[in-house]
Amino acid sequence: MNCQQFQETLPYIIESGGGDEDESHLRTCPACASLVQDLRYIAEQAKLLLPMHDPNPRVWDNIEQSLHREGLLSEGRMSPPGHTKKNSTSQTQAKSWTPLGWIVAIAAMVLFAVVLINYKPKQLPQGELSAQNSTAEPTPFNSDDRQLISQLSQESPDARSAYESSLRDVNSYISDAQKAAEHDPQDAAAQELLQDAYQQKEMLYQMATARSLP
């Protein structure tokens, strides 16, 4: 199981704890382990926003009335099935859950759901996220780089940050050398810088590839 497959089953994992295969992936992938830890923490905190018992039916009336007053809801849309509307004077009997409190709680739940669906940890390999997040900010890595970093994350997580940093540096080198060479195509020194930059990158790829050999 790779990181992408793992992330597709995230909601199930958060709800039920996941299966053996998920557990196995978690043991070998610090990035996903960190992600699950973060999401579980969010889920735990979100539970604190929810009531521990069913609210009084009057609470629904209050929410509905508030939404009507704000013009956010048309007549008869809110009340749950079987729920009888009460007089608005019962508003004072809702002691612990005011309409505003409920709106905040619902908003928090919606927010949590949005976070759960869209949450993307920074340390996850960009390559695995690009398919889901095509509008993400441009990164200093091309698709080959992202694939390499993703591979390292799985096979040698401890080496990942060093390679990531080195790739970022060498990409910056290539970019600068390209600009210099384009600025003056007759400049042999600029061409040599560009060639050297590519050699540096080639070296990093060879080293990273050698890691994965048996």
Partner: protein, 298 residues
């Protein structure tokens, strides 16, 4: 009185014996826990053969010797790794490879293996490590060294080809003469002391480059970096045709150079300079994108 003296003496003996026994048990237990084992091997190799070594962490130390055998001593620091020795039937190629045993996931410390290897003259050596340091002293065959983070040291080498690759590992070459030297280092600093040859090429991305020597031999010396600094110190006797350019960084020259009447670029104050000293027999090119270049007089 005598009885009391004898009793005290026996007590002292008993105490000493108990202490000694305790020390022996402790030492034995520690030895068992580290599972350190040392092995020796002698492997035949023909002149001009190749020795390949792969070792993740620990160290690899190489010396030169006469004869036709590779003499290997290695210390393994845990039972989770082992060393495979392979030799081709024609004795052209010898390989030493450290690897984890199936099902084992040794820590960096447990994966350490320290090699001490004597190499016959003229045998090419290729060493690849992750964090293990590599030291090559006095070898006469071609040398290829590669490490991500382990210090790379080459000393007392002549008339060969030296190829070094490093990710962040520091690289040091001392007394390397008449040799084709090619060093690529992403972030590791490179130090060259008395390194000469027909071609001496160093390229880094962020690593600093330091050269001390006379650039003799009428060779091409090319030191290139993106953002590292280049520091060159030459003796007054150095015979060089030198150019230094930093696209966005600065250059400083404290070495007496005669200005050239013609250069391939227009010298720019503080960004580039060029000149010759003595007969200008060796070409020295120093290039940086944003790093600082300094040329000093020894």
């Amino acid at each position: 009185m005598n009885n009391r003296t004898q009793t005290a003496s026996r007590a002292r003996h008993a105490f000493l014996l108990a202490t000694l026994a305790s020390l022996i048990v402790t030492a034995t237990t520690a030895a068992a826990q580290t599972s350190e084992s040392r092995k020796d091997a002698k492997i035949d190799i023909v002149p001009g053969g190749a020795l390949n070594i792969v070792n993740g962490s620990g160290s690899v130390t190489l010396h030169s010797n006469s004869g036709h055998q590779v003499l290997v001593t290695y210390v393994v620091h845990s039972e989770k790794v082992e060393v495979d020795q392979n030799a081709s039937s024609n004795k052209q190629r010898v390989e030493l490879r450290t690897h984890a045993l199936p099902g084992q996931k040794p820590t960096a410390d447990e994966a350490r293996v320290d090699y001490d290897i004597t190499v016959p003259a003229g045998v090419a050596v290729n060493v690849s490590t992750t964090s293990a340091t590599i030291t090559a002293d006095g070898l006469s065959g071609d040398i290829g060294l590669s490490s991500e983070t382990g210090q790379l040291t080459v000393r007392n080498v002549a008339k060969s080809y030296v190829h070094v690759r490093s990710m962040t590992a520091p690289v040091s070459l001392t007394n390397v003469s008449l040799t084709h030297t090619d060093i690529q280092s992403s972030g590791g600093a490179v130090q060259l002391n008395n390194v000469t040859g027909q071609r001496v090429s160093v390229g880094t991305t962020t690593g600093n480059i330091e050269y001390r020597g006379d650039c003799s031999g009428g060779g091409n010396y090319l030191l290139t970096t993106h953002s590292g600094a280049i520091d060159v110190t030459l003796p007054p006797t150095a015979s060089v045709d030198l150019s230094a350019r930093s696209t966005n960084g600065t250059v400083e020259n404290a070495f007496p150079l005669q200005q050239k009447s013609h250069t391939s670029f227009v010298p720019q104050q503080g960004r580039s300079f060029a000149g010759t000293s003595n007969s200008g027999s060796s070409s020295v090119q120093l290039q940086s994108f944003s790093g600082k270049i300094r040329v000093n007089k020894q």
